[in-house]
Symmetry: C2
Subunit: 289 residues, 2 copies
């Protein structure tokens, strides 16, 4: 595996593959890799001849009060994981390489970025949209792989790729979970032993809400309230729990009539956790199948 740290070295590494017409898959990450990232690499290897992974802890997507400084950066271990997973090119730019002096451009996706995590993490999705646009343009892969764990991010990225006409297919990969249901996240490392025992309640409550809505599509309000109460009872400080249209993220107010998603963000001690699960639309209620 070749490790490069500048966009010109990245281009040079990609050039022979591109000349040969080989399909290239990109897996952008912030490092602190776990089995969720490996699922992205596996999905990329399944569709592409060559896989490039990036590790960049993007300062622009952290708000001033967030965990940029303490975000884990186990570079040597990450590189071993990527190599053993079959990644052939790893791109680890510095912050100066991505944002040199006088950098001043922002990519903003309206609408999709505004609610849910966007309402609580000011500027977060502008930072995500900007860095992903840069990584996509720098590498111009055929496909790029993102986890459904960050569901709102996935939709924001799909939108910007369509809107800016980037000739790249965005692939969403289902969330990888611990046996007890906890969604894998680099931030799970922050949890104390006691918090780790509580954490799986997040996915359990979301699944219960989704299951109830599949049986009773008109119970949106009741299930939202029940979910909120159960999360609070379990010990989470709840940022939001919402039922949203799975494509537009528009609020589902009364009745689940199309594919929907239950999404939540919570704090557990000093750790912020997010998760989401699909609400399968039943034949009786689905308008979009």
């Amino acid at each position: 595996m070749r490790v490069v740290r500048t966009s010109s070295d990245l281009k040079e590494g990609l050039a022979p593959w591109r000349r040969a017409g080989e399909r290239i898959g990109l897996v952008p990450t912030m490092g602190a890799l776990h089995a969720g990232h490996m699922a992205l690499v596996a999905a990329a290897r399944g569709e592409c001849r060559r896989v490039v992974a990036t590790i960049f802890v993007n300062p622009k997507q952290f708000a001033p009060n967030e965990d940029l400084a303490s975000y884990p950066r186990p570079e040597a271990a990450d590189l071993e994981i990527l190599q053993s997973a079959g990644v052939e090119l790893a791109y680890l730019p510095t912050a100066d390489e991505m944002y040199p002096p006088h950098f001043s451009t922002m990519v903003r996706v309206g609408g999709l970025s505004e609610g849910l995590c966007g309402a609580h993490r000011l500027g977060h999705f502008d930072g995500v949209a900007t860095v992903v646009t840069k990584l996509l343009i720098q590498s111009l892969p055929d496909c790029a792989y993102f986890g459904e764990k960050d569901y709102q991010q996935l939709l924001v990225i799909r939108r910007l790729v369509r809107d800016l006409d980037l000739p790249i297919r965005i692939v969403g990969v289902p969330t990888v979970r611990e046996p007890d249901g906890l969604a894998l996240s680099s931030r799970n490392l922050y949890l104390s032993a006691q918090e780790r025992r509580v954490a799986p309640e997040l996915s359990r409550v979301l699944r219960d809400v989704a299951t109830a809505l599949e049986r009773e599509p008109g119970a949106v309000r009741r299930e939202t309230e029940r979910g909120l109460a159960e999360l609070t009872h379990a010990g989470f400080d709840v940022e939001y729990l919402e039922i949203r249209d799975a494509e537009s993220l528009a609020p589902v107010r009364d009745l689940v009539t199309a594919a929907a998603r239950v999404l939540a963000a919570v704090h557990l001690g000093r750790t912020r956790l997010i998760d989401n699960v699909p609400v399968a639309s039943s034949p009786a209620t689905a308008r979009r199948g």
Copy 2:
């Protein structure tokens, strides 16, 4: 000359040139073509084997109170002009092709977009940055050509191309003027005969200010005030007249110490005119040559 109206037809038109490794030049315009646009095409032909021109009156760069509806659209005449100038591919997308339903992404260049025209045309440079990003990504030319007449726009575009890592060289082409000095502009069509006689005073005043500053680099304040007074006296309603650093557009407050630019926007009747001229930095004052 082939005329295409969708980005997929554009890509198809470009593909054989790209495969053959031929250098491609892009000339983005809003139509209503004049000799200024032809200078862009000529510059492109001088450096590139193939020249693509686009005509798109971009609704996102007009504020609600501006002249979007009345902006001239002489399509047949424009196409003849492009063909006779040696353009081989003309791309004339519709607004729906560029901004389909649910479009919601914006590219914003901070700093450079904020003063001068940006302070008077709200959202204008966001619209410019967004459409130019789209046109550049759709066509991925080797070079793209923009006039110095829209000097702030040229710097905004250079900045976004650098910041987003677009592998495209942006070429600025000097302003083309009428014999009496008036900068060519599609909006000159709006001028009455009487206004047309007054209009060249704009460039005369800017040149006088620039010449005075070349002789006396410390006269920034005096020359700004003199220029403003002369424009007002000539009959213009002045939006701004400013002396700015030619690269950063930072205000030059006391002393011209590096390459600078005198920029102005005025209204003459119902027509808004802009112009700008360089202040050559003398060996005694230049820090950046």
